[in-house]
Structures are given as C-alpha cells and as structure tokens.
C-alpha cells in the first residue's frame, strides 16, 4: 500500500496554514514570528493532554520512539479539533537525516495521515540533508538567517530565565522579563530587524543586562543539567514537564541550547568528510558556516559572562570535550553532542544531570547510558540519572529516580560541595567508576 500525501508546493505558502509541533517553547515562538514575516501562515501547536498520546499510539507502531508518537499524535489531534480548514492546512516536520530511525518520522506521519483519513493534507519537510526534495519547505537565505536568529535569541532567553528564576526575590520576575523579551524579539522579526550576525552580537548584551537588573538572592541551590534526545529534552509534552518539576524541587536547571544541535548537524558534514572522505567543498562550506555560527555564539557567551551569568564554552571547544570518551564519528541521533554536553555540564558546575531519552532510543544506548561509566571515571562528581520516557512510563517512576539523584545532590550541597561521604555514582543506569583504587605493591 502506498502512503502518499500531497507535496508541499510553493504556492501553498499563501493558501495554507502550516502547523508545527511544539518542542523548545521559547525558541519556537520566535521562529513562528520569523516565518510569519516571510509570508508563512504558521501555528506552533499547543495542544497536549492524554488524547495526543492516545492518537499517537493508535496510528504509529507502538515500538517507535516516543517523540514520533507524540508529534504525530499532536498533529492528528489538531486536525481532529475542527479548528482548521482542512483544505488549507499543511504540516511541517523536521528531518535530520542520518542513521537514526528519526529520519523516518515523515514516512510515519504520512502513513498515519492516510490511515486517519487525512491523506489530502500536504506535509512539508524541513531538512538540510537533501531528503524529500519534492516536499521540502522552500527556504530563502533570509528566512534561514532569521530562523537561526530566533534560535540564538531563544536559547539566550531560556538560559537567562533559568539562571534568574530560582534566585529571584520576587516570584515571577524572570518569567515576566522573558515574556517581555519574547514580545520584543517577535517584534524585531516582524520588522525585519536585528537578525544579522552583526546585529545579534550587539543585541545580546542589552538583553543580558536587563535580566541582571532583577533583584536576586544567590543562595546555593542544586544545579541540574538536562541532556537527552532532542525532543524529550525540550518538549514539556515529551518529558512530563521536567523543567517545571526540577524547578519545583528548588533546583537551577540548565538545558544546553538548541543551537548546539544545529551546529552539531553542521559540524558532522566536516567530520564525516574527514573520517571517510567525500566532497571537500561541502565540508569546507560547512566548516565556514560553523565558524560563522560559533562567532555569534561566542558573542552571546561573552555577554552572559560579562554580567556574571554562566555560559558554556564555544562550540569548537565543546567539540574537544568528548576526547578520550567518544569519537566525533558517532553522529546518529544526538550522537557525540549528548556526551559532550554531559561533560560540559559537569565541568561547568552542573554535575547533576538528567539524561532524558525515549524508551529504547538506539543512539542513547551508546552516547547516553553507554558513556556514563567513562564520564564518571574521569569526573567522579558526575551524578547522572538516565530517565526513560514513553507513553506508559509513569511519572511517579520517573520522578522517584530523579529525586534519588537530587537527594544525593542535596547532601553534597549541604556538605559545602565537599564529599564527606562521597556518593560518587548516584543512580540506576550505573556503571562502576573505573578508577579502581589500585593499591601499589609493597605498602
């Protein structure tokens, strides 16, 4: 049986409303503004609730990854809602390409649409890998630049919000500030302003400075980093509102930015060429693009540091982190980036980490659970807990494991960061710290 849905064509830009699944909330709300300015009529879906997962279960093979289930469930739930003119609605899905099964989301979506009786809904693919040439969303250079800007600004707001919120003197200040800046930047997007690298580099500082005006009391709190499969890492729908839960436990949360994933995808062109050969021009182009992105990223980091906020190192520095732990050749799914982010977090003062993954996520067997042992051997303070997400995993189970990780973290915090009775490895997915105490002979 063929599962074909109409391709997304250029003229649909003006006739169709494009639905986008939600993931990283702040970043996506800015992207929406960028797309609107370019003439796209888009809506980032906000529908959640148990119906979404139910529909996903119904129309997608249940052993497929949870993100596919949720994204497709969210689309079908939206189409079912009656809110949209079905003759003028299209769906946009991102495709990363590569050996992970996530490259197949679009095929699964088409299959599900046909099964659910929405075979007439066009599906557009957003990818940079040359897949789905006929239905790729038409991208102008300007739009790409604006999307990139939306991610940069979004990452910055998310990072600032997370670094201020736990310490604010008046509850709600950081959130209000974030909402204000989302509006402002959306305005920029609509007015075609400040999306060039040059402008961005100038705008970062005033934003950071504004957050720095919020009165805070910096009592030490447990600092938790979140890494994982990209969708469950960011999407509150996918991770049972993990960020909120951690905040409710009085933690400072650090979600490494979405731009890291974009840069990772770009960097892989160069790495692949380097490892196996191939088109050197493409690789060189990718490297140049990475340089451009990284220069913007560095400007952002500088602005953060200037006002006393935490900022990670540059992306090229991040690429050095996995050395001795995992090769940069591991490029499926989140690949080496996930491992690199864990190390970056541990070294950056966020030794407590939730590694969020969909149940049975193949790349994460390798780059997540598979690497924890090595990371602990090098960084005994690493306190990492992998958490599985899927339609039937219960919140109580997930939160119980996270709480165990937090209990260890709190104990250390109370010991002034010094491990009196060091609980070196916190939790389930385990792995022994490899630094076996080798007793020298003759003592």
């Amino acid at each position: 049986m063929e599962y074909t849905t109409p391709n997304f064509t250029k003229d649909m830009i003006h006739t169709h409303k494009i639905l986008i699944p939600n993931m990283a909330v702040i970043q996506f709300s800015l992207m929406q503004a960028a797309l609107e300015r370019e003439g796209y009529n888009v809506e980032v879906l906000g529908n959640c609730g148990s119906e979404v997962a139910q529909l996903g279960l119904k129309y997608v093979h249940n052993d497929t990854c949870y993100p596919a289930l949720l994204v497709i469930g969210q689309f079908i739930d939206a189409l079912n809602s009656g809110k949209y003119d079905l003759d003028h609605t299209a769906l946009l899905i991102t495709q990363t390409g590569g050996g992970c099964r996530a490259s197949n989301y679009i095929a699964l979506l088409r299959k599900a649409l046909v099964k659910a009786g929405y075979g007439n809904i066009p599906v557009a693919s957003l990818n940079f890998s040359g897949l789905e040439k006929d239905s790729g969303i038409p991208l102008t250079a300007k739009l790409i630049r604006k999307v990139i800007a939306a991610i940069f600004y979004g990452d910055l707001l998310a990072s600032l919000r997370n670094q201020v919120h736990p310490y604010e003197n008046r509850h709600g200040d950081a959130e209000a500030m974030t909402q204000k800046w989302i509006k402002t930047i959306q305005g920029w997007m609509h007015e075609d302003k400040y999306y060039s690298a040059h402008d961005m580099k100038r705008q970062f500082e005033p934003i950071v400075a504004d957050y720095a005006t919020i009165p805070v009391t910096r009592t030490p709190k447990v600092k938790v980093g979140v890494v994982g499969e990209i969708y469950v890492k960011y999407s509150p729908l996918g991770n049972n509102d993990l960020e909120k839960f951690l905040e409710s436990q009085d933690c400072e949360v650090n979600l490494p930015g979405l731009m890291g994933f974009v840069e990772y995808c770009v960097a892989n062109y160069t790495i692949t060429q380097h490892l196996y050969g191939g088109n050197a021009i493409v690789a060189g182009g990718a490297d140049a693009l990475l340089g451009y992105l990284d220069s913007v990223g560095e400007a952002q980091n500088k602005a953060l540091r200037k006002h006393g906020f935490y900022a990670p190192g540059s992306f090229r520095e991040l690429m050095k982190k996995p050395e001795g732990i995992i090769s940069l050749g591991a490029k499926m799914g989140e690949g080496w980036l996930l491992t690199a982010e864990m190390i970056e977090l541990v070294e950056g003062g966020y030794p407590n980490i939730v590694c969020a993954q969909p149940f049975g996520c193949l790349p994460n067997h390798i780059v997540g659970k598979g690497m924890i042992n090595k990371i602990r051997a090098l960084h005994p303070e690493a306190n990492i807990t992998p958490v599985d997400y899927d339609p039937s995993a219960t919140r109580v189970n997930q939160e119980n494991r996270i709480k165990l990780m937090l209990a260890v973290a709190k104990e250390r915090l109370e010991n002034g960061g010094k491990d009196v009775a060091p609980v070196t490895a916190a939790d389930l997915a385990g792995g022994t710290p490899k630094v076996e105490t080798a007793v020298p002979a003759g003592i």
Partner: protein, 972 residues
Amino acid sequence: MRVGLDIGSTTIKCVVLNDADELVYSTYERHYSHILEKGHEILARIEKDYLHGQKALLAISGSAGMGLADSCKVPFVQEVFATRVAANRLAPGTDCIIELGGEDAKILFLTNGTEVRMNGSCAGGTGAFIDQMATLLKMSADEMDKAAQKATRTYTIASRCGVFAKSDIQPLINQGAQAGDIARSIYQAVVNQTIAGLAQGRPIKGNVLYLGGPLTFSTVLRQCFDETLHVKGTCPENSLLYVALGAAFYADEAFDLDDVAKRLDDYSATSTYASLPPLFASKQEYEEFHARHMKATVPCLPFGADVGPVHIGIDSGSTTIKLVVIDDNKNILFTSYQPNNGNPIPLVRQVLTELYEKHPNLKIASVTTTGYGEALVKNAFHADYSLVETVAHFTAAKHFMPNVDFIIDIGGQDMKCFKIEDGAISNIFLNEACSSGCGSFLQTFAEALGYNVKEFAALGLFADHPVDLGSRCTVFMNSSVKQAQKDGASIENISAGLSISVVKNALYKVIRASSPEELGRNIVVQGGTFYNEAVLRAFEKEMHVNVIRPDIAGLMGAYGAALHGKSKTAEGHISSVLTLEQLKNFSQKVNTVQCNGCGNHCQLTINIFADGKRFISGNRCEKPVTGKATDESLDLYAYKLSLLLEYKPVAGKRGKKIGIPLCLNMYELLPFWHSFFTTLGYEVVVSPVSSRKLYQEGQATIPSDTACFPAKLSHGHIAELAKMGVDLIFYPCMTYNVDEGLGQNHYNCPVVAYYPEVLAGNCPELEHIPFFYEYIDIARRKDFTAKMPKLLDKYLPGIPRHEVKQAIDAAYAEYARHMALIRQKGEQIIEKARAEHRRIIVLAGRPYHVDPEINHGIDKLILQQGAAVVTEDSISDRVQPFKTTVLNQWTYHSRLYAAAKYCTTQPDMDLVQLVSFGCGVDAITTDETREILQAGGKLYTQLKIDEITNLGAVNIRLRSLFAALDERNGKM
C-alpha cells in the same frame, strides 16, 4: 518521638521510635491499594496509643509515598536514601545492601565509593513478580519457599523481566516440571536479574545485608543469592523496616499526626488521575449489551440414550484445561473448564474416567487435542488427532459466524488474532513475550487485591472514571496502578482501567489496528478473558463495532478440536483413546534432562506413561527422539555459520595475534577482516560461537538493559577474547555499511554502528588490551584504502602502505567470495526444495541472527516442519530497487525489503521475519515488510526473539503459518 512511614507499592510500613531512638512500635501490612485509608488508620492509631496529643518528628518514604508526602506537606525521603541512613546506624560495617521490594530492586554499595543502583523501569516487579509466580503455581509465597527447598534442579528462566520469566515458566508447568524445581528456578531468576541488571560489573562482596519482603520471607532466595555471589549475607532484625526506620531517623520536622491524617483525607477527595469515559453510560445500556451477547449460544443437550457416537475436543492451554463433548449434530453434551494446576494429565484422566463411569455405553468416535499441551495429551491418552490451536479456534468461530473475517482470542497467557480472507487464515498475530500474560494478569492482579477475578471485573462495569493505565506491558501497568492509587483512584475505576488496558494491549500492540474496517466487520471474540464483560465492552467501545462472543468463549479451542475430529471421522469409527480399563492403570512419570546433542542444550522433559510410551518435549530437533542429527542440507543458516567457522587462525610472519569478536556485523564482515589481517601476516583469533555461558560472562558490564540481545552478547565475546591472549582486539565503528544499491542510503543501525564505543567504555578487559575501534567506511573503497594505513599505524606501526593495499584487495575479494557462496548455496537449496516439493521459508533477519544463541534454533524448527530455510541476503540481489513507503536507508533492512518483494513473486516461498526485542529500527521495518508481503498476497509472520529459551509460542506460530499455507493451497 520519631515516626517513619514507608509506603511501598504493596505494603505500608511504619515505625515509632522513642527519644532514645528505640523501636517502640512497628507495623508491616499489605495495603491492598487502600493507601490513604491505611495511612490514616495507622497514623491515628499511633496518635492514640503513643503520642496522646504530643507532636512527633515525621518523615514519609517509599515509592507510593512521594506525591502523598508533598500534598500533606510532610518531608519526603527517597527510599534508597532512607535505607542508607538506617544501615549506617543499625548495621555499621556493611559493604553492600541488596533490597528487594514489591516492585523495586536496589543495590547499595556502601564502602569504597558509595553507589546506589535502582532497577530501570523495564525490569520492574520483583516482589510483585514473585507473588505473581506463586499465584501461577497455586501456592502462597510461603509454600513456594518450602517447595523450593526440596528442589533438585534449576531451569533457565529469562531474567530480563517478570513478563518474560512468566512466558518461560508457563510451558514448564505445562510440560509437567516439578513445582519445587520451578519455584527454585524463579528465585534464581530473580537473583540473576538483580545482579545482571544492577551490579553492572562491580563485584558484590564483604558484609552483605538482605532487606525487604522477599528476602526476609524466603530462605531459598537468600540461599540463591549466597550461592551466586559466594558470600554469606545476613538478613538483619527489622529487615522489613529499614526504609521506615531511615525515614524516622531522618525526620526533623514535628507534626501533629491527627493533622496529617486529616490532610490525607483532604488529599483523597482530590482525585486527579488521567481517566477514560465510563464503559456504560447507563444501566439500560448495560442491559441491552448483556442481552445481545446472550444470543450467541450452542445448544447444550443431555447425553442421549444411545450415548454416542460422540467427539471429544481437549484444549490443553497454558493455565487451563478445557474439554468438550459433542454429538453428531455439533450439540454440546458436556463441558469441563478447569485450571490445570500445573499438570494437565491427571485432570484429563479424571474427566475421561468420570465420563466413562457416568455413561457406561459411551461410544467415542474421535478425540482431538489442541493447545500448548496438545502433543503431550495426545500421546498420553492415545487421542486420534491433534490440531494447532489457531486452526481449532478458527474452526469453532466459523460455526458461529460462517462469514467471520476476524477472530481475536485473549486467553490466560496468549493473545491470538487472525484475519480470514477467502475462507483461510490470511494473517496471524500472536503476542510477543512483551505483552503476554494479559489474561492471567487480570486474575493475579485481582487476587493480589483480595478479590476473585469475577468480582473484580464486575466492579469495573459501572466505574465512573476508569483509570488510564497505558498499554505497554503488565509490569508497566503495575506501576500505573500504583500511580493511580496514589492519586486516589477507587478500586472500581482501577478494575475498569485494567480491562481497558488489556484490550488496548491487544489492539495496539498485537493487532496494531487503527480502525474497525481494518479488522473486518465480522468479528468473533473468544478466550476466557472475554467472559469478563468489562473487557468485552471495552473492546467494542474501542473499536466501535459490535462483535460476537459465543457463550462458550472459553471453550472455543476444545469445541473447534471436537468439530475437527468430527469432520475427519468416518461413520462407525472408534477412537483409539484409552479405555476405562487403561485409564485406571494409567500412570505418568516425569523426568527432566538436558540434551547434550548439540550446542542448544535443550531442556528436555520426558514423560513416561504406564504403557512404557515416552513423550519428549522441549526439543528443537529430532535428535533426542530419533537419535539422528537433523539434515542440514536445506538450512542456509547452518551453512552460513559453517562458512564463518572455517576462518581459523593462521600464524603469520608478524607474529602478533589479532582478536575479532564474533558479534553483530562481524557475522558478515569476518571474511573481510580475517582475510585482511591474515594477508598482513597476523594471526586472527575469533571469539567462539555464542553460548549461554559466554553471555553470562559479559552480562555484568552491560550498561543499558533495554539494548537488543545481539548487542548485549558482544560483552561476552570481548570477555572471551581477553582470555585468548590476543595483542589487539579489532572491532571498528561503522556508521556506513556496504552499499548494495538497494536503498536511498546504506547506514548501519546506531547500535551496530557504534557498539564498539560502548564496549570500550564499559568492558574492564579493554583497559589492558589495545582496542581498535576507529571509524571506518568500507563502502568508499578508495578513501578507505587511502585512510586505513594511517589508522592502522596507531596500533600496529610500521606496515608498508603497499602491503595494506594488498590486504585490502584481498579483503574485498574474500568478502565478495563469501557473499557469492551464500547466494550459490541459496540457489541450490531453492532448487533442491523445489525438486522435493518443499516449501521455502525465507528466515529474514540480519547477519547476526545466524548466531544459534540469538536465533534459538528457529531454523531447525522450520526444517522440522518439512520446509527449506534460506536467508534474506541470499535472494536480495534478485530484485530491482523499488520505492518503499519508509526511508530505505539501512543496508541490512534494504535486503529485508528486497527479499520480501522477491517472495511475492515466488508461489512456494514465504517470509518469516526475525526481530530482536529492543530493536528500534524494526518498529519501522516490520510494518513495511508486512505491507510489501500483503500487497503481494503473502502472509506475514514475525518472530520476536530475545534471550528467551522456550520456543512454545514460536512453534505455534510456525505451525499456524504452515496450517494457513496448507489451507490456502487447499490441502486440507
């Protein structure tokens, strides 16, 4: 005063300490899900008896206590943390704690770097698991322990999780294994599971402390731990109360317990859990539903005066034994439906004897057996026919609805669904190990909550807000129930939720249907579980279609068998079944032995009957029965393995030994690398073919318990290689596979591509042996040739470039030769099979499915059915690239699609797909393969395999496939 409250998944524990921290009161009771009521009751009791208005320091712990603690504003202590607090005080000097609870297993290392390990969500259910198993054996937990003390042997039971173990145990029960032996095997499985899942390479030694219910109550379980770990662990005083004690020690905030109890009541009023619409909107709707289903009946008549001729059908199922007697007009004269209590033989004997005695002139024309135990019962009682159960069910369903196009049967352990087209079974769905046990799960759950299954199910009919419990597997349901209980769901709503979950499991896990049209419009539902009206209703509601549930829903297999016997029997025929006299003298002796005929080491159960007739079960091949080895000339799997085993070490000029683990993609690339290094002048040593022992050798270092079994096995291969004195272990990472031009790309799956990284990070052996796991792409021959010398130089310096080039050429040539040999042999087998008029089965998997430890001898099972076995890679070059619905980007899976496509052009060729549990890629490929085959008018059969050792379900599936194929060809 200090009070610690520990609310676990099945029990509630509470301690009261006086100001000198002495235990003045403790309680340990099952809460039967009435967490809030129990909590209230206990707190009120303590207030009344000990506190008298005084405040006490209070903390709450336990997996079910978390949300509850939050909402009544009492400090919560994570339970592992609490255990540690208690152990530091009460048992100083402890090195390691093993604690098994209702659903959690934990290991705490206290000395030399404290570490805490908790089971992942997939291995849930240890105490609850033992409870379930005890129920299965019809014993109390105490009786099970007693029985295990008398055990003489231990069976291998899968230790991944409770559901898997259950699938292993049920057939053992059916084969007549001794209850005591099974009981001990269950404890041993718990031990293996705990150690494999949690120790992860860290040795457990020194002073070991055993805590929690199961370890406190079962001496055999402790003994199994002692023996496996070579330690002498202690189960301390108050071993059940450590978490509660830890919470009490930790408590630093004073509360008035009456206040807390009151807050619990408020909490129960705010029940907020995900709920589903009720099953019935009104009483009237129920009445109509009930009346509609009362119509599908078979006339039941008393025995006639001439008592015959009658036909008897016996369905020896996994948990029950069903027997139906019909007359020549298909009317039912007698039925019997009983739990088999672990051994069907005495029950059948008893029922037959009673029939004879009540009806002295009984003329039995035929006896037909079906179900799990069909062969055993047939042999024991000399029945006339036996029938694979799927066909028996279809035969019975046809009687109720001649135009039936879909049958779903939910029994105790199995779920079977078949689609019928043109009067023949066109598609079979059997549940995988992962969703098994759903029928009996309802029963065990009901019993655990103190109800019988009927009462329990009836409770759910009028529930107002059924709990949404998800549908992944029964272990997950357990914890969903836990969550719902925490959120204050009533027993009625839990009952309804469980019934709905069982249905969803069937629909979305097994059938994978999204609309009623897909199933067909004429559906017959059957199996004992559908007597449960809540399940029946949930099914109709979920699918929006009215179905037929025969009044003999639980007897359909037996009825179908009887009908089959009737249709086969000529008038005047007299059954060969044992006479009353023979029944009286009947005896059964059961022996179990391990067959050592080959590497499979099948666990054989030998039944010896009064007439000296022996019946052997548990075998994969005919060797233990006939004494002859299976003819492997039609088995491409055996040939492929034999090709690989020919790559022997050849001492070379460079003197060093290169070790290659025979795992994952090495099952295809061994010829390539063997030739490469041999040409270079190295001696290539290959790890031995996988075995159970090899697996166990490496299982402690596996970091992700949900990875696929083939990947997990590689840890054992590394461990073996380390013992073989190699100078370097070679196992490169390969993002890309070879490119055969069949798809849009030629990736490996992430696990195959990067598993060497996991080995490097987790196998302690690799700390001392150089390990080559560089990234290599052999699809780009030129680039590979240019880059390889440099990579090699890091590990084996000084090899001249031209020699490497030479070796690479030799490697590609050898690989090409190897693949050509496979294809030639495939062609030969196909020709031979055609000449002998045999069916050809394409047993499609990946190269590593050739590993006998992975395929469990399924190729042999197919040969036993008289068919020939070829592989996907032997025929994948016979089709042109074609468009697939999904992104066709993995080389191994491109072959699969191509093989499926080729099958559709060959009338005598059918495909069976092997899927390893946990293979995420196969979630995508199975649907695609199914569609390719169905579009070409072929049946699709999938066999999901893991470390399971029992092949009962696989056998049924294969036999059903052959029966369906025969039926299609009109051979029946």
